[in-house]
């Protein structure tokens, strides 16, 4: 029989996991990138993995009349990618759909 009290317990064991939180800081990062010419790309990183991103992208494509895809990234998880500058649209849509609170959204870019 093992004595519970003598078990070694590292109180900081889960602190090392905090490094991951660096990536998922609870914010939804909405970024824009330039492609060739006037074309741009909007990426949405940090949406909760509880959501079905595929369904979200399907809805967004229809709503904003643009193409889009879900990209699986080893570090950042599933990232939504939409064609064009959809930053305004996606912010409004996410808030309206209740998927993210306005203060969770962090819009980057110019």
């Amino acid at each position: 029989m093992s004595i519970q009290n003598l078990n070694t317990f590292d109180p900081f064991a889960d602190a090392s996991k905090g490094a991951d939180d660096d990536v998922q800081d609870g914010l939804v990062h909405i970024r824009i990138q330039q492609r060739n010419g006037r074309k741009t790309l909007t990426t949405v990183q940090g949406l909760s993995s509880d959501y079905d991103l595929k369904k979200i992208v399907r809805a967004c494509k229809k709503e904003f009349a643009c193409n889009g895809t879900v990209i699986e990234h080893p570090e950042y998880g599933e990232v939504l990618q939409l064609q064009g500058d959809q930053r305004e649209n996606i912010c409004q849509w996410l808030t309206k759909a209740g998927l993210a609170k306005p203060d969770q959204l962090k819009v980057h870019g110019f």
Binding site: D22, H29, R31, I32, Q33, Q34, R35, N36, L41, T43, Q45, I71, H73, Y76, V79, Q81, H108, G109, F110
Partner: protein, 312 residues
């Protein structure tokens, strides 16, 4: 685009006279003393604008044309305007005296026209001073009306009086006046079709007292692109960017990494402690951590075939 090019021509740097905008923190620091007095009584439209923005912490305004009197000259700037004539030189001198004052002006105003300042000579300054004086008297009269008469004071009168006393006693109180922080605008020109140059990048880093690398990291992360500082200390960014876009990003940088989060003073130091950056305020002594710069997810934007060719 041709028009843009004309405006954002980096050669403007040389022709100071035509440069439509000014200036920097130093100058901002040098102000204040003068502004402190006129802060209260001035039914200016510009003033109203400012009040509209009051809930936005600082009025990081790049575009508004200010009518406000301002003399953003410092010794530093004197070199720049040396060729411009005697009267300006005088003004610069005055300003230096003002620099002793530890007030500052916190509004990032990228677009203030230099013309406005040029019009100002000593005569104007005196006239202005008189004006201010009169204003002050008026206010005093207003607030003192009930003191001499039998009638009761109104709430507004008392409130006004309280604020006046507060301002009188604490001339450098942040809440008492709108602080200004004048910035020189970024000079952005296109290079060919695919790159942009941020010509006065290094200069702006100096003004903000920040490491070029820090600002560079921020800019590139925000714009989701790559770039580097070239031999002429200008920043070459991949992609097409306009001045106002860079301004937007700079504005956000200043808000997060330059001005104190507590008192809005730009007189801050950015220190790196272990993995985090801390913003230490030299005015109020507050110290708080600031967001680290992460570029996050970057989508593939170049031609995949080209990447394959490169890696293969």
């Amino acid at each position: 685009m041709a028009e843009d090019d004309a405006i954002f021509d980096p050669s403007l740097k040389k022709k100071k006279k035509k440069k439509k905008t000014a200036f920097d923190i130093e100058a901002a620091l040098a102000e204040g003393g003068n502004d402190a007095q006129d802060a209260a009584p001035e039914p200016d439209t510009a003033k109203e604008d400012e009040q509209d923005d009051a809930n936005v912490d600082i009025d990081l305004d790049f575009t508004k044309k200010k009518k406000k009197k301002k003399k953003p000259f410092t010794a530093e700037d004197l070199d720049a305007v040396a060729g411009e004539g005697k009267d300006e030189g005088n003004e610069g001198g005055n300003q230096d005296e003002g620099a002793l004052d530890d007030n500052f002006d916190l509004e990032v105003d990228f677009s203030k026209t230099k013309k406005k300042k040029k019009k100002k000579n000593l005569g104007d300054l005196i006239a202005e001073a008189d004006e201010k004086h009169e204003d002050k008297e008026n206010v005093d009269e207003n607030s003192a009306v009930w003191m001499t008469s039998d009638r009761d004071y109104t709430y507004d009168e008392l409130l006004k009086r309280a604020f006046e006393i507060m301002r009188d006693k604490n001339p450098d109180m942040a809440a008492g006046k709108k602080q200004k922080f004048v910035m020189r605008p970024p000079q952005v020109v296109r290079i060919g079709t695919k790159k942009s140059s941020f010509a006065n990048f290094t200069e702006i880093c100096k003004m903000l007292h920040r490491q070029p690398k820090h600002l560079l990291d921020f800019l590139l992360a925000e714009l989701g692109t790559s770039g580097s500082v070239d031999g002429n200390s200008q920043l070459i960014i991949k992609g097409r960017f306009q001045q106002k876009q860079i301004e937007n990003v700079l504005r956000r940088y200043i808000k997060e990494y330059v001005t104190c989060h507590t008192c809005r003073s730009p007189d801050t130091i950015l220190q790196k402690d272990t993995r985090l950056f801390f913003l230490q305020c030299e005015t109020c002594g507050s110290r708080c951590s600031v967001a680290s710069i992460k570029s996050g997810f970057q989508a593939v934007t170049s031609k995949r075939a080209a990447i394959r060719a490169k890696t293969a």
